[in-house]
C-alpha cells in the first residue's frame, strides 16, 4: 500500500505540551517536512527560544541549542560562522524576537547571516501567561493591558517583516499565516524556499507565521482562527516582502 502521510523523520516521536488549538505544532511539522524533503536533517541545528517553544528541542529529531531570551539570532550567528556547513534556523516568538531580541534580529538580518528565522507572531506573550507583546493588536486585552492596548501609551504593533524589509541585505522575507489549509500550504512553500536559499548559501531568510494562542486570547481554538483572520491579517498583510528571485540579486535597492 502506498504511504501518503507519515510523521517526518525530522520530528521526534513524542507528544508536545502545546495547548489545544495552538499553531506551534503546525509550524513544527512544516519545518520538519522541509528539512526531510531537502535532505538537510543531518546537518540541521535548530535554536529554541525562551517562550512557549522553549522545549522545541524535544520535538525535533536533530541537533538543537536553547538560547537565552531574544538572543537566538546571535547564537545562530555563532553556529553558522563557526560551522558554515550547518543548516541553522531560529524559532522565535514575538516577545523574544520583536521585544528583547530586536537588536539581535536586526543586525543578523543586516549582516546577511545565512540562516533561517521562523518568527511566530501570535500577538501575545504565551509562556508567561498572556502579557502584552510588541505585536499585540490595538485595543487587545492582555494581562498587562487590561483595558486594551492603548497605542497612545505604548505605540502601535511592530511589523517585523516591513521593518526588516527596509534593510538592503536580507534576501528573503515573507509573512505567512497558519489559520487555514490555503495559508498553511503557502506557508510551507515559503519555509521550503527559505531553507533552499540557505542550503544554496544565498542569503538571510525570514518567515513570519501569524499564529493563534486560544488560551491567552481567552477564546476557543476555532474562534481563534477567525480572530486571526479578522484582526491580524488586515494589519499584518500576508505576502512576500523580499525574494532574491524577484529582485534578481541579494542587494537590489
Amino acid at each position: 500500500m502506498e504511504t501518503i502521510f507519515k510523521r517526518p523523520e525530522a520530528l521526534a516521536v513524542t507528544p508536545t505540551h502545546y495547548c489545544p488549538g495552538c499553531t506551534h505544532g503546525i509550524v513544527h511539522r512544516m519545518i520538519a517536512e522541509c528539512l526531510d524533503e531537502l535532505g538537510l536533517r543531518e546537518r540541521a541545528v535548530g535554536i529554541a527560544p525562551v517562550g512557549c517553544s522553549v522545549l522545541a528541542y524535544n520535538y525535533f529529531n536533530f541537533d538543537f541549542q536553547q538560547a537565552s531570551h531574544g538572543r537566538a539570532p546571535a547564537v545562530a550567528t555563532g553556529i553558522k560562522r563557526g560551522r558554515p556547513e550547518m543548516i541553522v534556523f531560529t524559532y522565535q516568538g514575538d516577545g523574544d524576537l520583536a521585544s528583547i531580541g530586536m537588536a539581535e534580529i536586526v543586525h543578523a538580518a543586516n549582516r546577511g547571516e545565512k540562516f533561517t528565522v521562523v518568527f511566530i507572531n501570535n500577538a501575545i506573550y504565551g509562556m508567561t501567561g498572556g502579557q502584552m507583546a510588541p505585536t499585540t493588536m490595538p485595543g487587545q486585552v492582555t494581562t498587562t493591558s487590561p483595558f486594551g492596548r492603548d497605542v497612545a501609551q505604548v505605540g502601535h504593533p511592530v511589523r517585523m517583516c516591513e521593518l526588516l524589509a527596509t534593510l538592503k541585505t536580507p534576501g528573503f522575507i515573507e509573512r505567512v499565516a497558519t489559520h487555514s489549509p490555503k495559508h498553511i500550504i503557502r506557508a510551507k512553500k515559503a519555509l521550503k524556499k527559505a531553507f533552499q536559499y540557505q542550503a544554496d548559501n544565498k542569503c538571510f531568510t525570514f518567515v513570519e507565521c501569524l499564529s493563534t494562542c486560544p488560551t491567552n486570547w481567552g477564546t476557543t481554538p476555532l474562534k481563534a482562527l477567525d480572530w486571526l483572520e479578522e484582526n491580524m491579517v488586515p494589519y499584518y498583510p500576508v505576502q512576500n516582502f523580499k525574494d532574491l528571485e524577484k529582485q534578481g540579486g541579494g542587494d537590489a535597492d
Binding site: 528541542y57 525535533f60 529529531n61 546571535a74 547564537v75 550547518m86
Partner: protein, 353 residues
C-alpha cells in the same frame, strides 16, 4: 623562537590564534580594541573566523552558539562589556560549553574610565552572572605570562567544559614587552561528542540550560560544583617571591600590582625588613592552602590591589583569620607605587616611613 616586542593586546591575540582559538567575536571597547584590530587582519590568514557583533550581549551569545558546535570560540572585552556578557556566560557555564573570555579591566563602576584597574575581581571570581557557577580565572602579570596562559586557558576550557576568564588590567593590554611564543603540549582532550555539529549517525545533541525538573537541576548543580572542587584541587597556580628567606610581612597581589610589590619588597630588604609576596596566578581557584602555610611566620598580611580591596576577603579566608590582613590599594586608574607600598608596610610595622 626569537623574542618579539609586542603590545599585550596583540600578543594575547596572536597567542590565541596559535592555541587554535580560530573563532573570535568582539565588540570594540577601550582598552582592548587592539585585539580585535589585530585579529581582523590575522584571522583571514589562518582561515579563522572574525566577526564584530552588534553588542557584547550578542557577542557572548555568538560564543555560546559557536562553542556549542565544538569550535574554539573566544572573545575579549573590558569591564562594562564584560558585564553585558554575564548573561551568556551563565548560560555557557550551565550548558557546560568551553569558551575563553579575556577581560582587560578598566576602572568602574559604571562607565568609569579607560585606565587600568582590578575592580572586576569579585565579578570574575565569585560568579558575575546569575546562578550557581564559577569560572576558572587566570591573572597574568606580564605580557609573556598572558601569552603563556592563553593556550592553557583554551585547554582547560575544553577539559572542564567551562568558561575560562583571563583577567589582565589595562596595563597588561597596553604595555609592550618582549615575548616568545612557545610550543605547548597538552594531553589529548576527550572527543566533543556533545557538540551540535550534525546528527548523522548518532542521536541528536542538545545544548541546553533549562531544567524544569528540580531533581535534574540539582544534579546539574552538583555536577558543576564537583567540577569547581576539582579545579580547586588541580588548577591552583601561584608565584612566590622572596619566601625562601626570613620575612615578617606577606604581601598578596596579582597582575601588575604584584610587579609593584616585588620592587617594594626589594626596597624593604634594603631597609632590613623581610617581606615576601604570594602572587595568585589563578584567582579562582585561589591559592588558599599555600597562603596559609606562607602566613605562618608573619606579623600580618597585606593585600595590594587596584581596587577598594576586593581580594581581601579571599586573603582573610586563606589565612583563616588567624593573622591580621591589611589592605593597600589605589583606584581610579592610579597604580600603587613601590614607595607607597613600602610606606604602608613600615606604618603597619610601627616603623614609620
Amino acid at each position: 623562537m626569537a623574542k618579539v616586542l609586542m603590545k599585550g593586546n596583540e600578543a594575547i591575540a596572536e597567542s590565541a590564534v596559535r592555541s587554535g582559538g580560530l573563532c573570535y567575536f568582539c565588540y570594540p571597547i577601550t582598552p582592548q580594541s587592539e585585539v580585535a584590530e589585530y585579529l581582523s587582519r590575522r584571522m583571514p590568514e589562518v582561515g579563522g573566523t572574525f566577526l564584530q557583533g552588534e553588542s557584547e550581549v550578542a557577542v557572548s551569545n555568538m560564543l555560546y552558539g559557536a562553542a556549542g558546535t565544538g569550535v574554539r570560540a573566544w572573545s575579549t572585552s573590558s569591564s562594562p562589556g564584560i558585564s553585558l556578557m554575564m548573561e551568556a556566560l551563565s548560560y555557557i557555564a550551565a550548558a557546560e560549553l568551553p569558551t575563553v573570555v579575556v577581560n582587560i579591566v578598566r576602572t568602574g563602576p559604571g562607565l568609569g574610565g579607560i585606565l587600568p584597574s582590578q575592580g572586576d575581581y569579585l565579578q570574575a571570581v565569585k560568579g558575575g552572572g546569575h546562578g550557581d557557577y564559577r569560572c576558572l580565572v587566570y591573572a597574568p602579570s606580564s605580557v609573556q605570562e598572558a601569552v603563556d596562559l592563553m593556550p592553557l586557558a583554551f585547554d582547560r576550557a575544553d577539559r572542564y567544559r567551562n568558561p575560562v576568564l583571563v583577567i589582565g588590567d589595562g596595563m597588561i593590554g597596553q604595555m609592550m614587552e618582549p615575548v616568545e611564543f612557545k610550543e605547548h603540549d597538552f594531553p589529548p582532550l576527550p572527543p566533543k561528542d556533545w557538540a551540535t555539529d550534525g546528527c548523522k549517525g548518532r542521536k541528536p545533541n542538545v545544548v541546553n540550560s533549562l531544567y524544569l525538573d528540580p531533581v535534574k537541576e540539582e544534579l546539574l548543580n552538583r555536577k558543576l560544583a564537583a567540577k569547581y572542587e576539582k579545579m580547586k584541587q588541580d588548577e591552583v597556580m601561584y608565584e612566590e617571591y622572596m619566601t625562601d628567606r626570613p620575612y615578617e610581612v606577606l604581601l598578596v597581589a596579582y597582575g601588575t600590582t604584584a610587579r609593584v610589590c616585588k620592587t617594594a619588597i626589594k626596597k624593604l630588604a634594603e631597609d632590613g625588613i623581610g617581606a615576601a609576596l604570594l602572587r595568585p596566578i589563578t584567582l579562582f581557584p585561589f591559592p588558599s592552602a599555600r597562603l596559609y602555610e606562607l602566613a605562618r611566620p608573619v606579623k600580618f598580611l597585606m593585600s595590594v590591589e587596584m581596587s577598594c580591596g576586593q581580594m581581601v576577603e579571599d586573603v582573610e579566608l586563606g589565612v583563616r583569620c588567624e593573622k591580621p590582613v591589611h589592605f593597600y590599594g589605589r583606584q581610579g586608574g592610579l597604580v600603587p607605587t613601590p614607595e607607597e607600598v613600602v610606606e604602608q608596610v613600615k606604618k603597619r610595622l610601627g616603623k614609620g616611613a
